[in-house]
Symmetry: C2
DNA sequence: CGTTGTGAAAGTGTTCACAGCT
DNA sequence: AGCTGTGAACACTTTCACAACG
């Protein structure tokens, strides 16, 4: 099995680009709602909060979908990006852990725009099992493997306490899941071929604190420091 | 004013490194709890899920805190990283928007380990205002500016619906806030000097869907596609 | 004309591999 | 003897600037 680091030439869209496609898609949907049918890279870039050269290079990885001198057709670009992201099919998502966060996720905007469907909710707590949420009964984690296979769940969201997350991951991976979105503050150990994305509130706050501290330092006694550093 | 692109020599820690420090800190806290007092870059790297060369280079930006032939002192490194991240002081955080997500955030682990304190909760809905949550009454967003200034809030978490997010951002920035953690699915427009970090469920799911689709393509009819592509 | 698509340059991040220290 | 700290090589990403084209 040829295993180049990643990317390869075979239609490889850079990771940095993939991470921005959802952003463009949202900006395009906003334009479409306002009845705009054509957009230049400059205008779309502003709407998405990036610079226009980057946007053009990103889109060029998908193909040549623009018209020189004119711009991009909004609807057509929405379709192409959706297609590339795999949103033209519906993905069955299971949420494991129905605490505050799990509830928030389940309720979040009809789950999310298009492309995803909450197919199951799980919790280990018998007091929560049976509760109805977004038209769906919470099931006990005992049934995890069966339900995942029967309902074709391909993406699992882990919103359990940290202590339970690795065990949940092991079980859903054993059941065939290869995409996990992890909200628990632990590093999941997974085999090759399984994608994990992590969302971590405390990490984000700590990064903000770092920059905030920098800004504070710069205001008090900064010239002193600068001189000492220059020497 | 000399303005090298960014970084410069003046103590500039690369962004990529800053983003990993919280990870190392968590891994170190785990080791400390298990009574481990010294750790090698290799072991710490495994615990944090990165490779050891990267870990060593990251730590080298903070200073020379290891001992050759031995490793790093766990407590000392915890202190140095905490210091660098600005966690040796307490940051007052305000959460705006007390829906499902806001509640989840407010309840999340006593907010988060150390360094942060929920100083205010705001909502625009009179039905929610007055409700008590983590020992704190939800206040009306009318008082945003006053409360931020009086309680020294320096980080604001926006957990409102998309439509309200920009307006909230404008107001808290006018009140002096320069660090925002945004959970609303919009690109916030902010002036220079204000840091925004964005957490976005639907973006994360879309990125997973992209990779999931790739994996699926590779299993079915991949050779056919590859040939068509090569031509 | 105006705007895309893209080579080339610049900048940033990661990994290798080993000298240097304990 | 073992492990850190780091130059040098490599890989990836962003930005520039302009030729190509509708």
């Amino acid at each position: 099995m040829t295993r180049r680091p990643s990317q390869a030439r075979d239609r490889g869209i850079p990771d940095a680009t993939v991470a921005r496609l959802p952003l463009y898609l949202r900006a395009l949907n906003g334009l479409a709602e306002r009845g705009i049918s054509t957009v230049s890279s400059e205008d779309l870039a502003v709407a998405a909060g990036v610079n226009s050269a980057k946007l053009r290079k990103d889109l060029s990885h998908l193909g040549s979908y623009g018209t020189r001198g004119v711009g991009y057709d909004v609807q057509y670009l929405i379709y192409q990006i959706s297609r590339e992201l795999g949103l033209t099919q519906d993905w069955a998502v299971a949420i494991v852990g129905v605490g505050n966060l799990g509830r928030a996720l389940a309720n979040y905007g009809g789950f999310v725009s298009r492309g995803f469907r909450v197919a199951a909710l799980f919790d280990a707590d018998p007091a929560v099992v049976g509760e109805r949420l977004v038209g769906m009964a919470v099931e006990h984690t005992d049934g995890l493997e069966n339900v995942i296979e029967n309902r074709g769940v391909s993406i699992v969201v882990i919103a359990t306490p940290a202590a339970a997350a690795q065990q949940v991951a092991d079980r859903v991976i054993a059941a065939g899941v290869t995409s996990i979105l992890n909200f628990a503050p632990v590093v999941l150990n997974v085999p090759d071929g399984v994608d994990v994305r992590k969302v971590d509130l405390s990490t984000e706050l700590q990064i903000l604190a770092f920059h905030e501290q920098r800004k504070a330092d710069r205001e008090t006694g900064s010239s002193m420091m600068a001189e000492a550093m220059d020497a």
